[in-house]
Amino acid sequence: MLVVALLLAWEISARSGLVRSANWPPFSAVVVALVRGIANGELVAVVGSSLWRMLQGYVLGSAIGIAVGIALAMVRPVRYTLLPAIELLRPIPITAVIPPLIFVLGLEDRLKIFCIAFSVFFPIALNTMAGVASVDPIYEQVAKTFGVPSPAMLRRVIIPAAMPMIFAGLRTGVAIALIVTVISEMIAGQQGIGYYLMSMEFAMRATDMYAVIILLTLVAYAINRGFVAWEAQIIRWARTRDFAGT
């Protein structure tokens, strides 16, 4: 595979002195550092603390995002009132928000969790809104004809029907959460992957830096894969939507 070939090329170029630099350690050295870091728990702690922060921010942002998204789609006054403000805030780069927020929330976890939740909120709320708005009206008519009251209709019909789009938003949210976690730790960090990477950069310890990057790659890949599998499980039915009769 290409990946293997590239790794080999990396190894060879470093060892053979093709690229002569302290910042280009051989891949094998990086692996050694990685294994060592995992074994003594250091890298695990670093990545673990980042993931924990990310999870908190993600759950917070998603919960609010989904709730607001549903409200935006179903309650017209809410949409007219809040949507312009949301559209106005959305293009503001999160990095611009971090330094001012340091004055308000300090440099601890609170700051990062808030930033993650804030960033994740937008795609999730908007995707949820789009999903709920695009629920096939026939489902609502079915519910009406069988006398389903509104709260049950929301729970049993509208939300399941909107799931595919809600999940699209959640998926985007995961990627964003990871990015914002790392960024916030780099700018305002005392712990975690972002902070660690910056420390390694400062100390010019390239090998350790790459070790963390590799670990991060694997973790990010695993999260991504896991999420996709979970999504497929929940909305199995969406793939086969265009079955006979439609």
Binding site: Q141, F146, G147, W237, G245
Partner: protein, 266 residues
């Protein structure tokens, strides 16, 4: 098992939109439907049959006029009237199993324990011959089977009036014959009032006690005809009776004249 009720449809009109772009779908429609009868409504494409049925079902408000079920005004979502959708495949909730879908039909009309609900679902699924696919999902079934699930769901709500909106137009001919037999069998057993909307004259005559004809849009009632055909209906024999051909001839003539009302009356 509750017997069907009578319906009075009184001077229903329906206009969509307002101002210059408005469309008058139904000009004025009045009809009395007897309790327990099977009524078919035919009309040219796009004449507003489905709209009329949705108004009767309470899914859409009329611009004027009213519908009385057993003497009571129909507003909002009336109990005891169930609407069978034309797009049955889309009307089944794809994230629920067949059994859950059938349950959806009656769960919100009363209090049921999970056990009671399951028993009732099974009962109706067996009635349509689908007892063994209860745990499948709608998208795993063929078109004909999906329509049968929709029928089971509709009947599980034990309606007094069943409104069918061209329910067999997208299945193949043989399946359609099976479904005709099924619907008639269930109707005779459960004795609900049935109103079927279709563009297929043969189907309309085969199933019904009376056939109502709509004109083209804006739709009005052109006339009503008694089919006067013996029951039980048989798929081959009934269609060959002289009376069947006579009724069919009249109806087709009306439809082909595009229901402009210039033809001879029924």
């Amino acid at each position: 098992m509750t017997a069907g009720e009578a319906l009075q449809i009184d001077s229903i009109t329906k206009t969509f939109g307002s101002g210059v772009g408005q469309v008058e779908a139904i000009a004025s429609f009045s009809l009395d439907v007897e309790a327990g009868e099977f009524l078919s409504i035919v009309g040219p494409s796009g004449c507003g049959k489905s709209t009329l049925l949705q108004i009767v079902a309470g899914l859409m408000p009329p611009t004027s006029g009213r519908v009385l079920l057993g003497g009571r005004d129909v507003t909002g979502e009336p109990a005891h009237m169930v609407y069978l959708f034309q797009q049955y495949a889309k009307s089944l909730l794809p994230w629920m199993t067949v059994e859950a879908n059938v349950g959806f039909g009656f769960e919100h009309r009363g209090k049921f324990t999970p056990e009671q609900a399951r028993v009732r679902c099974r009962e109706y699924l067996d009635m349509v011959g689908l007892g063994d696919v209860a745990h499948r999902y709608p998208w795993q079934l063929s078109g004909g089977m999906q329509q049968r699930v929709a029928i089971a769901r509709a009947l599980s709500a034990q309606p007094r009036v069943l409104l069918l909106d061209e329910p067999f137009s997208s299945v193949d001919a043989l399946t359609r014959l099976e479904l005709h037999a099924l619907i008639l069998e269930l109707w005779e057993k459960q004795q609900f009032t049935a109103i079927l909307v279709t563009h297929d004259v043969d189907e309309a005559v085969f199933l019904a006690d009376r056939v109502a004809m709509l004109t083209q849009r804006p739709a009005t009632l052109f006339g009503v005809m008694e089919t006067e055909l013996p029951r039980p209906r048989r798929p081959v024999e009934t269609n060959e009776l002289p009376r069947f051909l006579e009724v069919r001839h009249r109806l087709l003539g009306h439809l082909l004249a595009k229901g402009t009302g210039t033809h001879d009356g029924p």
